[in-house]
């Protein structure tokens, strides 16, 4: 009915005791794509995922998976798998038993079960750990058991709820690559919930940025970074986030309410020659570069990046400059104004 969309949410809403859960969620997901639901905590991204999984039922709207209306179907009838934030491994079962649990429930014959188990363990690099209990595994290994359990059934759609949030930073980066590779190799569709924009930006084909139960922008990582739909997106995406300037700060620009500017588009120039004169509020050494925070009336979050170690004293005054085409413009309600 919808042509190419593999998963589709139409005007889905879920409320708790009249309070807002999520509202007006409309989203199309193509087969084989990697979609990240991104947003601060409490924005409704997990709720959206649980609605998709069938762990919650929507109050309004409809959900379609693979051309079927599954709005009120049970979770097990939706042909999907899920990786939980806490992994939800059965603590009394061994790795192998955990992985094949779903196959056993679905009465898959033993020979086929063992073959799929071997495959899943090979893909996730868990060979040799079959008989361990989850308590005898490291965090990263547990995470991979959860992944193996999700892929063993061979479902076309896999939902992941912050699967990396319990791992340390170094492991997170490597597992991130593994998950992305896995998704490509198996050709599955992944819907991935995260509050970490690095994860979303680096893995996803399409990012859905949410706030207060509503979708703020749907687009590729490039769209979100370079063409933010509103000031919330501008401030949320990117590290450091985009600086927002009151348009009165600069002269000679067309009428709008707010201007946005990325740190990497700003250059420091000799005193007296810049477009804006600011005070240094902080300097943070990041290794390959130094992040310098600047203060100016009518400006929030202004930062500039300098290569290498380039500490500046707090309170020092510097001038900065930038090009007009690097400025993003937003109207009085914070929505993007596209330049022609």
């Amino acid at each position: 009915m919808t042509g190419e969309a593999f998963v589709e949410l139409k005007d889905v809403a879920k409320r708790w005791n009249g309070q807002l859960g999520v509202e007006n969620i409309s989203l199309e997901i193509e087969q084989g794509s990697f979609v990240a639901l991104l947003g601060p905590s409490g924005c409704g991204k997990s709720t959206s995922l649980r609605l998709l999984a069938g762990l919650e039922l929507p109050d309004e709207g409809s959900i379609w998976i693979d051309g079927r209306d599954v709005t009120t179907s049970a979770a097990s009838d939706r042909n999907l798998s899920m990786v939980f934030q806490s992994y939800a491994l059965f603590p009394h079962l061994s790795v192998a038993e955990n992985v094949v649990f779903g196959l056993k429930v679905r009465r898959v014959p033993r020979a086929e079960r063992n073959e799929k188990l071997g495959n899943a363990l090979k893909i996730t690099g868990l060979e040799g750990l079959e008989d361990r209990k989850p308590s005898e595994l490291s965090g990263g290994q547990r995470q991979r058991v959860a992944l193996a359990r999700a892929i063993v059934a061979g479902q076309k759609l896999c939902l992941m709820d912050e699967p990396l949030s319990n791992l340390d930073a170094k492991l997170r980066a490597s597992v991130r690559k593994d998950i992305k590779k896995l998704q490509r190799d198996l050709g599955i569709t992944v819907v991935y919930v995260t509050h970490d924009q690095t994860e979303a930006m680096s893995m996803a084909d399409k990012v859905v940025l949410m706030k207060d139960g509503r979708i703020q922008q749907i687009g590729s990582p490039d769209d979100l970074y370079n063409r933010p739909a509103n000031t919330f997106v501008a401030e949320f995406v990117g590290a450091p986030p985009m600086a927002l300037l009151d348009f009165h700060v600069l002269d000679g620009l067309q009428e709008c309410q707010t201007l946005g500017l990325r740190a990497e588009k700003i250059t420091i120039v000799p005193f007296g020659t810049g477009r804006l004169s600011c005070t240094v509020s902080e300097a943070e050494f990041l290794g390959s570069e130094t992040l310098i925070g600047l203060e100016h009336d009518g400006v929030v979050g202004l930062t500039v990046l300098q290569p290498g170690l380039a500490m500046l004293a707090e309170g020092e005054r510097i001038d900065i400059t930038f090009n007009d085409e690097d400025l993003h413009m937003f109207n009085e309600v914070g929505e993007r104004i596209d330049r022609h």
Binding site: A74, S76, S86, G102, V105, R149, A153
Partner: protein, 297 residues
């Protein structure tokens, strides 16, 4: 250097013993010494005015083994344990699963199930006396309504032990349910969700996930139920006094009778030692065997 380490070790050992000593003293005075004294007195004959007590070795034990009442009581108690332990555990688990699900009046259900536990056994026995009494009792009243003849539940050998068993189960199940409820609440919600996504039925989830995760609790409850099957005899005093014709007599009641009705302390002591030995062996088996098959989180 090594001297310093030795001193430190000795200090640690002394510290450990000091921490253990209060419990050790209490247990020695109130458990170990009485047990040993009981064993010692079980080796002597009964003291009477004509014949002073003398060492008889295992004669008291031999007497017991030759006593048909003793064997009847043992048989009663085994039957009592064999019924009350599994049935009260089963009912407790069922009630806990129900009281833990999302039902209306959940608090009320939990309280209602727990009420029998709060009642003292003597009060509970009096309550059940009112149910069992022939003619006047609730059971007979209900039976009469359907035209059934009056039954003297407590007064006939065929039903007396069963009547006692039912009171015990009624009393214990609510207590065990509390342990199961507490254990159920430690099972994370997302295990259920993970199972749901795989299409696990409620029954399979309970059998394959919930019950195995409750095993530590079940083990604890089993040991308790076993001890109770020997220990819990208060209601006998109210309901049947072990009768009719010893049909509902349990071993601890028999010990009490032996010691305080027949004033035969040596035989009572011998019986106590036998129970102690059996309980120790059974508890050891339960812990050693079941412990290996139990998952602790």
């Amino acid at each position: 250097m090594s001297k310093h380490v030795n001193n430190e070790r000795r200090r640690q050992a002394i510290y450990g013993w000091l921490l253990l000593s209060p419990a050790a003293v209490m247990l020695t005075v109130f458990a170990f010494y009485p047990s040993a004294a009981t064993f010692w007195s079980s080796l002597f004959s009964r003291h009477t005015r004509r014949k002073p007590s003398e060492f008889v070795g295992t004669e008291n034990y031999a007497d017991l083994f030759a006593d048909p009442t003793f064997w009847l009581v043992v048989q009663n108690n085994l039957f009592y344990a064999a019924v009350t332990i599994p049935v009260s555990i089963g009912i407790a688990l069922a009630m806990a699963l129900w009281a833990n699900s999302k039902i209306p009046l959940r608090g009320f259900v939990r309280t209602a199930y727990f009420t029998p536990t709060v009642l003292p056994m003597i009060a509970a026995a009096n309550l059940w006396l009112f149910f069992y009494t022939p003619g006047l009792g609730v059971l007979d009243q209900i039976g009469a309504f359907f035209g059934l003849p009056s039954v003297n539940w407590l007064g006939q050998p065929e039903t007396a032990l069963w009547a006692i068993i039912i009171v015990t189960i009624w009393k214990e199940a609510g207590f065990f349910m509390i342990f199961y409820l507490a254990a159920l609440q430690t099972i994370p919600e997302d295990l259920k969700e993970a199972a749901d996504i795989e299409g696990t039925s409620r029954w399979t989830y309970t059998r394959r996930i919930v019950i195995p995760l409750l095993m530590p609790t079940t083990l604890f409850i089993m040991v308790n139920a076993m001890i109770n099957s020997v220990k819990l005899i208060d209601h006998l005093f109210i309901l049947t006094k072990g009768g009719p014709s010893d049909a509902s007599k349990l071993i601890l009641y028999y010990i009490w009778e032996m010691a305080f009705a027949f004033f035969d302390a040596p035989h009572a002591a011998a019986m106590t030692i036998l129970i102690l030995a059996v309980l120790c062996i059974v508890a050891a088996i339960q812990f050693l065997y079941l412990d290996r098959r139990t998952h602790y989180q």
